[in-house]
Amino acid sequence: MEILNRKPPSRLPVNRRQWLKSSAALTASWLLLKTPGQAWAWPGRSDEPAGDVRGENIQYASATFKVDAYVASPAGRGVHPSLVLVHDDQGLNEHTREVVRRFAAAGFYAMAPDLLSRSGGTRQKSAGQVGEALAAISTDASVEDLRAGCSYLRATLNPGTDRVSAVGLGWGGWRTYLLAANLAGLSRAVVYSGNAPGDGLKDIEAPFLAHYGQFDFRMAGNALWLEKEMGKRFEYFIYPAVDHGFYDDASPHYNAEAAKLAWSRTLDFLRSTA
């Protein structure tokens, strides 16, 4: 079918591309589909409060860019296991910082890079602008910034650390798989309700743990494919009768019991050296 190059009538503020976008949005709503990728993505309040852990904003270099990040380290001196937290589709906001502090309270030197740094940073954007800005950031750029963050953690912030792990929340899940495929020596990785790339998973060496709500069918359903691709390096849990965002105390689907269980499994997994 030939598509006309003619412009639509001037009264219509659209072109065919926009029409198709509208088509997608409308038909998605028509079919009652939950919008994918709009993840609520922070682990819920646990029995391990952030305590007196204090975090700070830092910057590190990635290619020719400066990446904003938030870091928190456990109380007490010494070398700690390190962790990079890959934020969800809300960017690096206050709640993500709180999750960083929680990991620090649990014994990890934790850092959450702001993957919007290349376009001004999360702080510069309204909540409505964050999603659009994230969609415009290439996954390659995000992986580059995450890799640089891991190096900075290992070499500068927490020198001597022998373990750097990654945790991806929702939108950050995809980037966590990519980071693992592109960073030798990543210790372990955890993904909460995150999507995964369609290829390249066979290159991943780090063990993965994934958490899914049973009613988050479209995410949970892909666990079997991931298992097929990654074999024994992939482990997952399905939390019965809970939906997407069950682990996030800001989500309407938050479920304290399941969230607590997922959090304890995450810590056990990250601490394990087996």
Binding site: M1, E2, I3, L4, R6, K7, P8, P9, L12, P13, V14, N15, R16, W19, L20, K21, S22, S23, A24, A25, L26, T27, A28, S29, W30, L31, L32, L33, P36, G37, D89, A135, T139, W171, W174, N195, P197, G198, Q214, F215, F217, R218, M219, A220, G221, N222, A223, L224, W225, K228, I238, D243
Partner: protein
């Protein structure tokens, strides 16, 4: 072209006179004026001289937008009703396994004969309906049954199987298609970007599916059983179908054959067209009390929420209900109430929260509409609408159904007993109101039917028993596990045992509610008092019965999504009759029955190919009278 005209042969002289006047007014410019409508007749023969029964014969006025079609009887003869206005016509005859035969005639006498001698075609698979493609997929081994089920479960929730199986690709080609499909935004046909989670089952089975499809529809010889199917016979061949072309709603965004579909399904060899051409979208249909046709429009548009087809001239008028962002509201369900008002579901129209669906009502005479938004805090209207026998309007929602009382403009909400289960999510699809004022809704993904009882304000539910998978003996533990994780969803995975109750119709004068089990291929009857459920299998499960409606004689009518046909189920005899349309690849999503002209007529939308159709059911006596009339006219000579 009005269906009333076809009945003139046995109607009163006064009525016939009125019809003639109407038809004279509708003579095409290119036509030749004559005294009145003529009878077009003829016979269809095969290359060996035998008669071809069940062949479709269609006539379309040159420059016109209305096509009339009939089928040949068992003697290979066809008889158009005496309602074709004089003028120039294109006529074509089709039967599977033969090339399409065409003629152009000027209809000017009382009786005109046009015979066709068909020639064989060796490459006729493009003529198949989706059901015929599916039936040709072999089931001779457990693994082939398993793969057929996987294909059916994954790929036919949104489009007719013919759209897929008309193509041939090698394994790599099929994998590319499947990869893209796994990341589609539901229903929109758009790539969802890297963050769109792939549909789990399509993703999981993609390699197996690509291998299977390349074997069935690939570069090499296929084990499919490809043979031409005989056309309809008996009552199924007595229909007269009038199809009205619907122009593209937003022609500035698309170019399609001067504003109409370039493939409108009328030439079976052209196969099933894409929907990304702006042609499709006519969803639900109804006939108003003047005999004109109305349809909802389930595609984004700036100009069309509803369409009205003038049944005499074929003229299509757009009605825009303001929706979001300057667009026309997106409509889906359509019902006609006992006053003759039309009710529709409208997304993004007049809602309190923006984007939540509302009910709309339009007066077909004045074309004025009103929008009734559910109050804040209540679920929005989604897909389907129906009137109960007490005059209340029921509409489906994501959480169950709402009842709207047009006398008080008051909404009442009924929520599903099971909103989500391990089988999938519980959104409602179809809805209906019954003889006692109860409402019913279908939870397609979790095989449940909800009942809302206005007397108690409570909801009940009926669980439809599972369907037996074709590949019951070949389903692996991993297959079972995948189903348990993926859940059932329309555009991804219907599951091995899903019935898929889709759209429904209650008997307004009886105690039954009927729902089409789309994937299971059963028509389910639910007793509105006892909730007892009885399943009546459709003879060919792959036909995918979709929506049900009940006529005043308690007969249940369904449309066949994969069959390009409607079917009637007589509950007294438990017999089915399947009535094919003369077009292919139409992807019908609704059936309405109008009894405006006495006996039932099916009012249908040909969603994918941009046409609205009315199917009139002639009786044996009707045809015998016509045959006698033809014989007498032929005996009289020219």
């Amino acid at each position: 072209m009005n269906l009333r005209n076809r009945r003139a042969g046995r109607g009163s002289k006064l009525f016939l006179g009125a019809v003639v006047l109407l038809l004279l007014a509708a003579i095409p410019e290119s036509g030749v004026a004559a005294e009145g409508p003529a009878i077009l007749t003829g016979s269809i023969t095969s290359p060996l001289g035998g008669k071809v029964a069940g062949a479709a014969v269609s006539a379309k006025g040159v420059g016109q937008t209305i096509t009339t079609s009939v089928f040949t009887d068992e003697q290979g003869n066809y008889y158009f009703p005496p309602s074709l206005a004089p003028g120039k016509y294109r006529i074509w005859a089709q039967a599977e396994g033969y090339r399409t035969a065409r003629a152009e005639i000027t209809l000017q006498s009382e009786l005109q004969r046009q015979d066709f001698a068909l020639t064989k075609s060796n490459d006729f698979i493009q003529q198949f309906t989706a059901q015929e493609y599916l039936a040709a997929l072999p089931e001779d081994t457990p693994q082939r049954r398993r793969m057929k089920d996987i294909f059916y479960n994954n790929c036919t929730g949104c489009h007719e199987a013919s759209y897929i199986l008309q193509n041939r690709f090698d394994e790599k080609g099929w994998e590319s298609v499947i990869n893209l499909m796994s990341t589609m935004v539901n229903g929109g046909g758009n790539y969802g970007g890297p963050d769109q989670p792939p549909f789990p089952a399509i993703h999981y089975y993609k390699k197996e599916l690509a291998t299977y499809l390349a074997e069935m529809r690939g570069p090499h010889a296929s084990p499919m059983q490809i043979k031409p199917h005989p056309g309809p016979k008996g009552a199924a061949a007595m229909t007269v179908t009038t199809e009205y072309d619907v122009p593209v709603a937003d022609p500035s965004l698309f170019s399609a054959n001067d504003g109409y579909a370039s493939n409108d399904g009328s030439d079976w060899f052209l196969g099933t067209p894409s929907r990304l051409n702006g042609v499709g979208g006519a969803h639900d249909t109804q006939m108003d009390r003047n005999g004109n046709l109305w349809f909802t429009y389930a595609q984004p548009s700036f100009v069309r929420s509803l369409g009205r087809v003038d049944a005499k001239t074929g003229e299509v008028t757009n009605i825009k209900v303001p929706g979001m962002n300057g667009m026309a509201s997106f409509t889906h369900g359509l019902a006609i109430d006992h006053h003759g008002f039309l009710w529709f579901t409208a997304a993004g129209a007049g809602s309190v929260d923006g984007g939540v669906g509302s009910l709309g009502k339009i007066d077909p005479n004045t074309r004025k509409f009103e929008i009734y938004a559910p109050p804040r805090g209540m679920s929005g209207v989604t897909l389907s609408v129906d009137e109960d026998a007490k005059g209340n309007i029921w509409a489906s929602t994501a959480a169950g159904a709402v009842r709207f009382d047009p006398r008080t403009n008051r909404y009442t909400e009924f929520k599903s007993v099971t909103p989500v289960s391990s089988e999938g999510t519980g959104e409602s699809y179809g809805v209906t109101g019954d003889a006692e004022g109860n409402g019913w809704w279908a939870q397609m993904f979790i095989d449940r039917v909800g009942k809302g009882d206005p007397l108690t304000g409570k909801s009940l539910e009926v669980k439809i028993p599972p369907h037996r998978a074709l590949a019951e003996d070949a389903i692996t533990d991993q297959d079972r596990k995948l189903q348990s994780l993926s859940g059932v969803f329309m555009s991804d995975f219907s599951g091995w045992w899903s019935q898929g109750p889709r759209r429904m119709g209650a008997d307004k004068n009886g105690d039954a509610m009927w729902v089409c089990d789309y994937w299971g291929g059963n028509l389910a009857k639910v007793d509105i008092h006892t909730l007892k459920t009885t399943l009546y299998p459709y003879p060919t499960r792959e036909s995918a019965i979709y929506a049900a409606v009940v006529d005043s004689h308690h007969n249940v009518w369904v449309n066949l999504f994969n069959g390009d046909a409607v079917a009637k189920f007589d509950p007294a005899t438990e017999q089915w009759t399947e009535y094919p349309l003369p077009s292919r690849g139409v992807e019908m999503r609704h059936v309405a029955i109008s009894e405006l002209h006495g006996s039932p007529e099916a009012v249908l939308s040909e969603f994918r190919v941009g046409k609205i159709a009315v199917m009139h059911f002639r009786t044996k006596e009707d045809l015998q009278a016509l045959q006698t009339q033809v014989q007498q006219m032929e005996a009289r000579g020219p």
